[in-house]
């Protein structure tokens, strides 16, 4: 059952996953721009395989408090997708959507983040579905604000079942007018037996 995850660590498959990340995040950025009616620039996504201990370092270390928005998806492929961002990025993102006087991390922020996460992950998955011709349905969001190590243990454990690495897709969005930068990380986490279907739908055999 499933695949040897190490097989992913080769050029072609990593390229395919990078392209999935690129298109998915590109669509997410477009949705974000439409939603806030502002121009959004997106840097080329970075796709990497990292050691378990390297992952929390991306987000300021394992004890740094970050925001994770988590979704499950099911259909022709099953798995989960998580969007993680640090607190300044989370506040910037909400400010872009709804300019307000006091930018603090309150209940309003978390509820707005769930909604934004929903739109970002929804368009990510929709583009993945369009690209692969696979039927994929996404769940409602679950949000957690906690230590980076704890939040990232969720994808780490999942990848841990097949590897000693975690596959991450890093996306940076920049709202050009006010130069508010939002640094976000998508973790696309297909179930082990869904990798074959996912890559197979794009003509890649493992």
């Amino acid at each position: 059952m499933g695949i040897e995850f190490d097989k992913i660590n080769n050029g072609i498959i990593l390229d395919v996953l990078r392209e999935i990340g690129n298109i998915g995040a590109g669509n997410a950025a477009t949705s974000l721009a439409t939603m806030i009616n502002k121009k959004i620039d997106m840097k080329v996504p970075v796709v990497k395989l990292l050691d378990f201990d390297e992952v929390p370092e991306l987000l300021g270390g394992p004890e740094n408090v970050v925001c994770g928005i988590f979704f499950k998806f099911e259909g022709d492929i099953n798995g989960s997708i998580m969007f993680v961002l640090d607190q300044p990025s989370a506040i910037n993102l909400v400010d872009l959507l709804m300019p307000r006087d006091n930018s603090e991390f309150d209940e309003f922020t978390t509820s707005a983040l769930k909604e934004i996460g929903n739109i970002l992950a929804g368009s990510y998955i929709a583009s993945l579905s369009g690209l692969t011709n696979l039927q994929i349905k996404i769940s409602v969001p679950a949000l957690a604000i906690d230590m980076a190590g704890a939040i990232l243990s969720v994808p780490a454990i999942h990848f841990g079942q097949m590897s000693d690495n975690v596959l991450i897709i890093q996306n940076e969005f920049i709202e050009t007018l006010e130069a508010k930068s939002v640094d976000g990380y998508f973790f696309l986490i297909p179930d082990m037996d869904s990798y074959e279907v996912l890559l197979g739908s794009l003509g890649v055999t493992l």
Binding site: P56, A150, S153, I157
Partner: protein, 161 residues
Amino acid sequence: MSTMIKVGMADLKVVEFPDALTTLGLGSCVGICLYDASSKVTGMAHIMLPSSKAIRKNENVAKFADTAIVELIQQMEAKGAKKSRISAKIAGGAQMFSFTSANETMKIGERNAEAVRIILKEMGIPLKSDETGGNFGRTIEFFSENGKLIIKTAGKGIKEI
């Protein structure tokens, strides 16, 4: 001077008095802390998964509850601990994201903590105290001086068990 030694994810370490062990930001993983009060040999493992048996890629013994506990006890014995004197404290095993219809993979924290309890029992290691479950992360510090375990959270205070 006592040094605080870091244990990473899927990692384990053994220290002697006066050093201490810490692991940062435990989520669904479980921190297993073993202590021999008479030799003060102290061990900690940060495990990610309940069992190495169902997983093909299982060379990293510190990743799994079953293999990590065995390895930890061996390394502690090599430093002068006696298995019959070792006791345990555990923390972690949270469920970071909750869904109403949580399936098996979502409950990995609970399954990790349960596996650790069963294995400790099978090996005859008494579990002195534990702090598992919930939906929040934990940083833990374990002291060779007295076997104290300090648990820190983001916004939920500090606790000693």
